[in-house]
């Protein structure tokens, strides 16, 4: 009997035992698909948070400083000066003020309201910052210029647009030199930023930056509590954090306020640790489902050993060689497991895409090759081993012994 016939025999046997073939496949499909989906989701999640940190830029220090009684000079002024004094460590410093008050923005016939939460994805927001806002927050200028120190000092009515705000107000026209109206006050557009390019973070692009001195008029002169400091390197970040803590500790105590200094680098590390945890947990779950699938395969294969042993007895009695029985069973198991594995990978990829769409804001998830191949190999090997088991055991028996199997 040649290989071709062994194949035919195997396919005939698979087709004849649809239920058993299907159940075996099911174990593999579930195992492989769940591993593929879970691992993809975890990897997508990790990739997403890393992308976030990359887009945000590293060596970014978040400063939170709150004073209960504002004494001589606001923190902002002092902090600003202090950071300017650390020029060997720091690239820039800016207040980070998100204006929550309702503001209308108008250009020509187009009008937007910052409290338009029904369309939050298209909502424009107003942020207040210094001339170093762009540097601190990893924006790159599309054209025009940043805010200048003078703009801040003189509270010039100028603004810089994020890419989203530019698109919404001006479509594709260069906005530099145009005037928009913010709460009916004319503001000159002096520049615009390129898109941060981070899926699901539209608000980073849908913003309009004004000099922070407008805190007085646009933000009810609320206390400025958040700052972003951009350090030059990872080492500079660590050093700057220590210095800033010492500096702020000098005039903010538990009695009169609160402060906190942390860096994106810390967050990134923390996030990475968290991601690792998540990967391990989900990986373990996926591993368990693979194992359960594997046990299912084993079960079905072992339950049918008697039946298969008798079948082998019959086949031997009518002239099958040991070799051809083993080859037939090998092909049978390999084909069932291969098809099951392929379906599992297909379903897994589809599941990963769906999971990406709904869990990760439409992120396109592609499973990792290693994991996919690993899960596939594991189930196929398991299926083949347990599929071959009766063949190897029974084909060396005398036909009568195999026929007597109970």
């Amino acid at each position: 009997m040649n290989l071709m016939q062994a194949f035919k025999m195997a396919f005939k046997s698979i087709a004849a035992k649809k239920m058993r073939s299907f159940l075996t496949m099911l174990g593999i499909i579930i195992g492989v698909a769940s591993v593929v989906i879970m691992v993809s989701v975890v990897q997508g999640q990790n990739k997403r948070s890393m992308e976030y940190f990359e887009a945000m830029g590293d060596n970014k220090i978040q400063v939170y400083a709150y004073q209960r009684f504002e004494t001589s000079g606001s923190v902002s002024g002092l902090l600003y000066e202090y950071c300017l004094g650390m020029q060997d460590l720091v690239l820039g410093v800016t207040p980070q003020i998100d204006v929550w008050r309702e503001i209308t923005i108008r250009y020509g016939a187009k009008s937007f309201n910052t409290n338009d939460w029904d369309r939050w994805e298209d909502r424009l927001s107003v942020v207040l910052g210094s001339d170093q806002y762009g540097v601190c927050n990893n924006y790159t200028l599309g054209s025009g210029r940043e805010l200048s120190f003078l703009d801040i000092d003189k509270s010039n009515q100028v603004c810089v647009l994020g890419a989203g705000a530019k698109a919404k107000l001006f479509d594709f026209v260069d906005p530099v030199g145009e005037t928009i109206f913010i709460n009916n006050q004319p503001f000159l557009v002096v520049g615009w930023y390129e898109s941060i390019g981070l899926d699901g973070w539209n608000e980073l692009d849908n913003m309009i930056l004004l000099p922070y001195t407008f805190n007085r008029t646009l933000n009810d002169n609320q206390q400025i509590t958040q700052y972003v400091v951009k350090a030059k390197s990872a080492a500079a970040t660590t050093l700057s954090i220590a210095k800033l803590k010492a500096f702020l500790g000098g005039f903010i105590t538990d009695d009169n306020g609160y402060y906190d200094v942390s860096s994106n680098n810390d967050w990134a590390n923390q996030m990475q640790e968290q991601n690792l945890m998540q990967s391990l947990v989900l990986g373990a779950i996926a591993g368990i489902s693979l194992l359960v699938g594997g046990i299912g395969i084993m079960n079905i294969m072992l339950v049918t050993v008697t039946e298969r042993t008798r079948e082998i007895g019959i086949r031997k009695a009518i002239g099958a060689e040991r070799k051809s029985i083993i080859v037939q069973f090998l092909i049978e198991a390999a084909v069932i497991c291969g098809i099951g594995g392929a379906i599992g990978i297909t379903l897994g990829c589809m599941g990963a895409l769906i999971a990406g769409k709904f869990l990760l804001q439409g992120m396109i998830l592609w499973p990792s090759m290693t994991i996919t191949v690993g899960a596939f190999t594991f189930s196929v090997v398991l299926g083949v081993v347990f599929g071959l088991y009766p063949a190897i055991k029974a084909s060396s028996l005398q036909p009568v012994e195999a026929l007597r199997a109970e």
Binding site: M1, Q5, S13, I314, G319, A320, P399, L403
Partner: protein, 231 residues
């Protein structure tokens, strides 16, 4: 001499308390073209002997020469060829593959023989036609009566045109009418020159066999030729 066994033993659990001598020093010669009925009480070793003769089992000791070759020393490959081409075996319990239809069951030995794909179906259909089962070719065993299943099993046994047919109580599970039908097929094959070995419990059937070998406790106690009317 087609079949020649000398001093054949099949001993289960040898040396233990539960030792069973299913075959206890059996010698027997059968010529080409004979029709031999093997009879004896239940447990006398009939099936054991036929399984050894059919190369489905190995004796504990003794010599078996089939068609001039000593079978006891053969490898799996040659034994498979003998089971496939020299001997057609018919079991009391049919032993059809339940998941294949009648035609596919009959095709099976042809596949193992290496018959070309173009001839296989034709040969299998011819074998089914011989036993009057060609109209049930696409039925599965579970959709057939016992007699029909046994006829399919006979078709499978004769599909490769083996010179020897061995049947272990082929009519044991059938009513007398279907039993006679099966017997008629075997006689027909005999007339065409096939050597037939037939185990039976039925004295009536034994009475119509040209040669009757009687076993008792693993030994041959009589071996007689007789005149029969159907030849």
């Amino acid at each position: 001499m087609l079949i020649d066994i000398k001093d054949l033993y099949k001993i289960y659990n040898e040396g233990q308390e539960s030792e069973v001598r299913a075959l206890d020093g059996v010698s027997l010669q059968i010529d080409r073209g004979e029709f031999v009925a093997i009879v004896g009480a239940s447990g006398s070793g009939k099936s054991t002997m036929m399984n050894v003769l059919g190369c489905l089992d190995v004796p504990t000791r003794g010599e078996y020469v089939l068609n001039g070759t000593s079978v006891t020393s053969l490898k799996d490959r040659d034994l498979a060829r003998i089971r496939n081409q020299e001997i057609g075996f018919i079991f009391q319990g049919y032993n059809l593959l339940q998941d294949l239809n009648a035609l596919d069951n009959v095709i099976l030995p042809l596949i193992y023989r290496g018959t070309s794909i173009f001839e296989r179906e034709e040969l299998a259909m011819a074998a089914l036609a011989r036993v009057g089962m060609d109209d049930r070719a696409h039925h599965r065993p579970s959709q057939m009566s016992g007699g029909q299943q046994q006829r399919v099993a006979i078709a499978r046994a004769i599909a490769t045109h083996p010179p020897i047919i061995m049947a272990d109580e082929p009519t044991g599970a059938l009513d007398s009418k279907t039993g006679r039908h099966v017997l008629t097929i075997l006689r027909q094959l005999y007339r065409e020159g096939t050597t037939i070995l037939l185990i039976t419990h039925d004295d009536g059937i034994a009475a119509t066999a040209p040669r009757v070998v009687r076993l008792s406790d693993g030994k041959i106690i009589s071996d007689a030729h007789q005149e029969v009317d159907w030849l």
